[in-house]
């Protein structure tokens, strides 16, 4: 063959041509820009207009933000500094943040004791880790159970024996539930596990805490609820609401699916009544109406009332989200659980709920994000959450007239929390993807 062509072909390449780079217009950034931004005339025009709009917005906002003044004692001083520096445009007065950031974060909590809320946040992070991430040792769950009591003690202070005595009530209930069944029978042990701890809390716990405190006084400075404020308040209300509303919401969802008439109707009425009324009305109820139904000498902490209302409110929404998850499960899953001979609680715990909750994750997390942001509504009943404090800060004659700086700071803090919750939920969804689609 090669002989035939030896005369007719002048050159035969016997090596590969080295690979060449793609043309400049067909690779890298240029290609991406061409394909995504300037693929047609219309797109090119839209791109240019968008860039101009973005530039216009940034050109107005960035100099204002970046040129901001961080050190000043009042808005007037901020303006003097700005005028003295000869900047021709308006700049932010971030000095209000550097002056009052501790108030926006901690409210009126004594500044010497800031380590306590910070430590509480760390305790909370450690306690929630084994629940959020499966890689963490299961033994940490014991710590998670103890954490709420530890957190309460750290935040409010006082004698350590109060929370210990309160926790003991749960231990008693658990012990009766676990070991009482053989002695009392199934139904009686469940009832006893509910009644005995309540009697214990009502009549024994307080005295026990007092005795223990006399015997071995351990305590830290007591901080009253009216000292709480700012993001600490939003976080405490939000996190308590989230942690408490999930189990309650799941129970309500199961109750709504139940065949037992009374449980079913009670759950339906509870969910519909709570969902049918705006949160702000429930907050007003907590703040105003409850006062009348309680005797005047009983001062039932406003923050506690709000936490209870927020929890009930969120649990109704969680119940509906979880019900959606339960309804999405094929009937075969329920029948499969029955055919294995599992009783109701076993089938729920082992078969139904793990699947239903997985389906419900996006809904649950968006309910939580909504709940966390809704905590700002407490400003209307006079609690000093970040928004309430921004009003209080503006009422100081030093900072009267300041507006955007406070809202930007508050918005940023909320964004950090809500965005991380949202990212976590996306991560969890990916991790739990076991679908066979």
């Amino acid at each position: 063959m090669s002989d035939t062509h030896a005369q007719s072909v002048q050159f035969v390449r016997d090596t590969m041509i080295p690979e060449q780079d793609a043309p400049i217009t067909e690779k890298g950034a240029v290609k991406w820009v061409r394909e995504n931004l300037f693929s047609s005339w219309l797109n090119a025009i839209l791109t240019i207009v968008s860039i101009l709009v973005v530039y216009w917005v940034l050109a107005h906002i960035l100099p204002w933000m970046l040129g901001g003044i961080w050190v000043a004692e009042s808005l007037t001083q901020c303006r003097e500094i700005r005028d003295a520096s000869g900047i021709g445009y308006d700049v932010a007065c971030w000095a209000v943040i550097s002056d009052r950031w501790h108030q926006l974060l901690f409210g009126f909590y004594p500044s010497g004791l800031y380590w306590r809320p910070i430590l509480t946040l760390i305790v909370f992070g450690a306690a929630i880790a084994p629940i959020l991430f499966s890689g963490v040792s299961r033994k940490m769950l014991l710590f998670s159970i103890a954490a709420p009591f530890l957190a309460y003690w750290l935040l409010w202070g006082g004698s350590i024996w109060g929370p210990v005595a309160a926790a003991l009530g749960f231990v008693i209930g658990w012990a009766i539930m676990t070991y009482g069944e053989g002695v009392l029978g199934a139904l009686a042990s469940i009832i006893a596990a509910l009644v005995v701890p309540i009697l214990y809390w009502l009549f024994v716990a307080g005295a026990l805490a007092g005795v223990l405190q006399d015997f071995l006084p351990i305590g830290i400075e007591n901080i009253r609820s009216d000292q709480f404020g700012g993001f600490m308040l939003a976080l405490i209300i939000g996190v308590s609401g989230i942690v408490l509303s999930l189990p309650l919401g799941i129970l309500l969802a199961l109750g709504r699916q139940s065949d037992l008439f009374i449980i079913n109707k009670c759950s339906v009425i509870f969910i519909e009544v709570i969902r049918g009324v705006p949160l702000i009305v429930w907050l007003f109820t907590a703040s105003l109406l409850l006062n009348y139904f309680l005797p005047p000498e009983v001062s039932f902490d406003l923050m506690l009332r709000v936490i209870i209302m927020v929890t009930l409110f969120a649990s109704a929404y969680i119940a509906e989200v979880v019900r959606g998850g339960l309804a999405a499960l094929p009937r075969g899953q329920y029948e499969g659980a029955d055919s294995l001979g599992l009783d109701y609680w076993q089938s729920m715990r082992l078969i139904i709920l793990p699947q239903a909750l997985k389906i419900s994750i996006p809904g649950i997390v968006s309910t939580f994000i909504g709940l966390f942001k809704d905590t700002t509504l407490v400003v209307f009943i006079g609690l000093l959450d970040p928004i309430g404090l921004s009003n209080a800060i503006r009422a100081d004659s030093d900072w009267n007239g300041i507006y955007w700086e406070l809202f930007i700071f508050i918005g940023l803090c909320f964004f950090i929390f809500c965005f991380s919750m949202s990212r976590y939920s996306q991560w969890l969804e990916r991790k739990l993807t076991t679908g066979h689609h």
Binding site: L75, T76, R79, D99, R100, Q103, G107, F108, S111, D226, Q227, P278, I280, V281, F284, S287, L288, L289, N291, Y292, P295, P296, E297, S299, V379, F380, I381, G382, L383, L384, G388, N391, A392, I393, R394, A395, D396, S397, D398, N400, G401, Y403
Partner: protein, 338 residues
């Protein structure tokens, strides 16, 4: 919604008033501190500082009452209240005294079953306009857009004023004072209306206060004062005469500086009766004989409180005006201590 909640709670308030009576003084003593309702923040009247200490003109009244009753001006637990929660907080017994620039009106006094113990600031609704608008009287405001806080008496006063003068206006509803400042400066409305003290405080925060004028017309009476619940007259007397003591102290020349010295006894029998070196006015109130000394030492007499928080040397810069002593042509007039 606000209204229905409000009416509902007021209905219950009537019931509750029966239960809560006649032992406020004992309760405050047993508790060791006064629960005083204040605003969640109003320039000059009540605001927490960077350390969380409440300070202001209304706060001064709370501290004076606490000092008179407990001998300690710091023995106060300040309860921030909003326009919606203030009355129920007082009616339900959550607070003992409400000092929250609340206008004394017939229905609040009679229908809501409260007792106003006096007036600590005579306010009135005014208008502020940009100077470049060239308006010099409120009568020239026909057709103006007006920024107005919703759900307050100012809204009703405004409607009355424009209707009675056959003028039209377009309201721009606003929730808070801070928002109103932004809207007004951004030109969303020609006129901003609220209490004259609020206008002065707002104008003081502007970059260029001289570019805005507060019009001379005052279109409403807003006597602001502290109030207590119906049904405990002894407690009402304590609050009323503590406020009167602050006002009378200014008239008689008693200040926080010289009160200790004057309490030793003077040639003026009224001063002696008030400060306890003569007679037993304190015992009649159920308080110690040095109650007025403590109240005046807490933050000074009425004039001192005024100058420290809202007077002409402060950022708000209010003149005494109607709030001068009757001897100086104002309305402050304390009944005699006898």
């Amino acid at each position: 919604m606000k209204k229905s909640v409000f009416l509902g709670t007021i209905a219950v308030a009537g019931l509750a008033a029966g239960f809560v009576s006649a032992q406020t003084l004992d309760e405050v003593r047993a508790r060791g501190e006064l629960n005083c309702g204040v605003t969640t923040g109003l320039v000059g009247f009540a605001a927490p500082d960077a350390n969380g200490q409440w300070d202001g003109f209304d706060v001064g009244v709370c501290r004076a009452v606490a000092a008179a009753v407990l001998g300690d001006p710091t023995a106060v637990s300040f309860v921030p209240t909003t326009g919606q929660t203030r009355f129920t907080a007082l009616a339900s017994g959550e607070i003992d005294l409400l000092a929250r620039n609340t206008t004394w009106t017939f229905s609040r006094d009679v229908d809501l079953r409260f007792e106003f113990v006096g007036v600590n600031y005579y306010d009135g609704q005014g208008f502020m306009v940009p100077r470049e608008l060239g308006v010099s009287s409120a009568m020239e405001l026909d057709g103006a857009t007006v920024c107005i806080q919703t759900g307050t008496t100012t809204e009703l006063n405004l409607a009355d004023f424009f209707a009675s003068n056959n003028m039209a206006y377009e309201p721009v509803p606003i929730e808070t004072n801070a928002e109103a400042q932004q809207q007004y400066l951004a030109g969303a409305c020609d006129v901003y209306t609220t209490d004259a003290s609020g206008l002065a405080a707002t104008r003081a925060t502007f970059e260029d206060p001289s570019a805005h004028v507060v019009l001379p017309e005052i279109i409403s009476k807003e006597p602001l004062g502290p109030l207590v619940r119906h049904g405990d007259n002894e407690w009402g007397d304590i609050a009323r005469w503590t406020l009167n003591a602050l006002i009378a102290a200014e008239e008689l020349g008693i200040t926080s500086d010289n009160v200790a010295e004057l309490a030793q006894g003077t040639s003026n029998p009224e001063i002696n009766r008030m400060l306890g070196s003569e007679g037993d006015l304190g015992a009649m109130l159920g308080l110690a004989s040095d109650w007025a000394v403590n109240a005046i030492s807490a933050g000074g007499n009425y004039g001192e409180l005024f100058e420290a928080h809202i007077g002409e040397d402060t950022a708000i810069g209010l003149a005494r005006g109607l709030n001068a002593q009757w001897t100086d042509g104002g309305l402050l007039y304390s009944p005699p201590f006898r």
